[in-house]
């Protein structure tokens, strides 16, 4: 946290009530490389459309509730990102496409029409992203928004959970064009660091991506996969995992097996939600607010 930063003012400007995460250098202000205007976006992740099981008996309604909740936000986000596992896996390619189509139809009700997608292993690992690309285009891409550079990485189309040499070269070439103080937001599905490899909560060559990002002073990674809020620093890079929209997972290593947190009938949808991320003009700090899905 940057102590020089006017937190109250920032929260007011960001229109959010959550925690502020300051990335990068002291002072938090780099006018030439930080956002040019205030904005916020929403991260949704791990919706697992098509899942049927006891961990979420309301699976057929959860995504629709999330869409309604985002549409009901007091302020309208500039855009929305889905960070993977849009659908629950299936061995049947036809069924996978059916689930992707249904997912696309449901999120078509979002009022915000600028929506970005990256795949999770459930969407893409069994066919190397073929069906995903038919619906949502490239599995990795970059875009810029109001002075912030966004890099959406694919660490799932390779079933070993790797980014791969070709994409790492692409990342290096993209980063080479940037000022070292540029505000950079990375979107990924799996954690880029070894959070808990025993549960496959890692990216095989994530360290290579982190190494490429390390020279940059203002890098924040938003990811999914682990179905819970989690915050971690590798050097000066902040990594934030978001809650899922299907079922929560236990804290890393907190129990012998990676079984979902059981559905609580007394508190349905507990542990599910999405995230708002606010950026303020001229500042490299980001405001992060977790929004719980209400019953």
């Amino acid at each position: 946290m940057n102590r020089d930063f006017d937190r109250r003012q920032f929260l007011k400007l960001a229109g959010l009530g959550g925690a502020v995460f300051a990335s990068g250098l002291a002072g938090g202000v780099r006018a030439a490389t930080a956002p040019a205007a205030d904005f916020f976006f929403v991260q949704l992740t791990d919706t697992h459309w098509g899942y049927k099981g006891p961990a979420n008996p309301e699976a057929a309604n959860t995504l629709k509730r999330a869409v309604a909740a985002v549409n009901a936000l007091e302020a309208t986000p500039d855009f929305i990102v889905f960070t993977g596992d849009l659908t629950h896996t299936t061995d049947d390619g036809k069924e996978r496409r059916k689930r992707l189509a249904e997912f696309r139809d449901i999120i078509g009700s979002l009022k915000v029409k600028t929506v970005r997608f990256i795949p999770g292993e459930h969407d893409a690992s069994l066919d190397r992203g073929e069906a995903f690309q038919e619906f949502f285009g490239a599995t990795h891409h970059t875009f810029d928004h109001k002075g912030v550079h966004f890099v959406a990485l694919d660490n799932v189309s390779d079933p070993t959970g790797a980014i791969g040499e070709a994409q790492l070269k692409w990342l290096a070439a993209d980063l080479a064009q940037l000022d070292r103080n540029q505000e950079i937001v990375v979107l990924a599905h799996r954690p880029l660091f070894d959070l808990y490899p025993q549960w496959d909560w890692a990216t095989k060559d994530g360290a290579a991506a982190v190494k490429l990002l390390e020279p940059y002073a203002n890098v924040t990674v938003f990811y999914g996969h682990i179905h819970q809020e989690h915050h971690h620093m590798t050097g000066r890079i902040a990594h934030h995992a978001a809650t899922s929209l299907i079922f929560p997972q236990p804290a890393p290593g907190s129990q012998p097996k990676r079984t979902p947190v059981p559905w609580d009938a007394a508190a349905p949808f507990k542990g599910l939600g999405f995230r708002q991320v606010g950026a303020k003009a001229g500042s490299t700090a980001l405001a992060v607010k977790e929004v719980a899905l209400k019953a």
Binding site: T90, P159, T160, G161, P197, Q198, W199
Partner: protein, 123 residues
């Protein structure tokens, strides 16, 4: 990854981890390390629990019964791959006792998250 083409890299990576890769079956001779075969199919390992003695050299043989699966034993830095039609061998000497989880690290379908096992190392 400890398949033939990755032998050199895997061997180098394994140095210092009390582990090394063997890729040629003739290397495992009579009187050599105990050989223990692990079979993988969606979504289970057989055996699910491996019991070894601390300090006892073994060779793990990885055999797939259906498709490609992964083998990762993070506590010892071991990684391997189950490839249909091939046997992957990992030479390994556990240097500490305890219970250590291993898992499939190649996404293989709806039960992938349940594809886990335990290595028990006794004194």
């Amino acid at each position: 990854m400890l398949r033939r083409r990755d032998f050199a890299a895997a061997l180098a990576a394994a140095a210092g981890l009390a582990a090394a890769a063997l890729v040629a079956p003739q290397i495992v001779r009579a009187g050599g390390p105990r050989v223990l075969r692990i079979k993988a199919r969606k979504f289970e390992f057989t055996p699910r629990e491996i019991v070894l003695k601390r300090g006892e050299p073994v060779v793990l043989e990885l055999e797939s019964l259906d498709r490609r699966h992964g083998f990762e034993l993070p506590s010892f830095g071991l990684k391997g791959e189950f490839v249909p039609g091939e046997i992957t061998r990992i030479a390994f000497t556990p240097d500490r006792a305890g219970r250590f989880g291993f898992n499939c690290n190649i996404f293989c379908g709806d039960g992938h998250d349940d594809m886990e096992g335990d290595l028990v190392v006794t004194e």
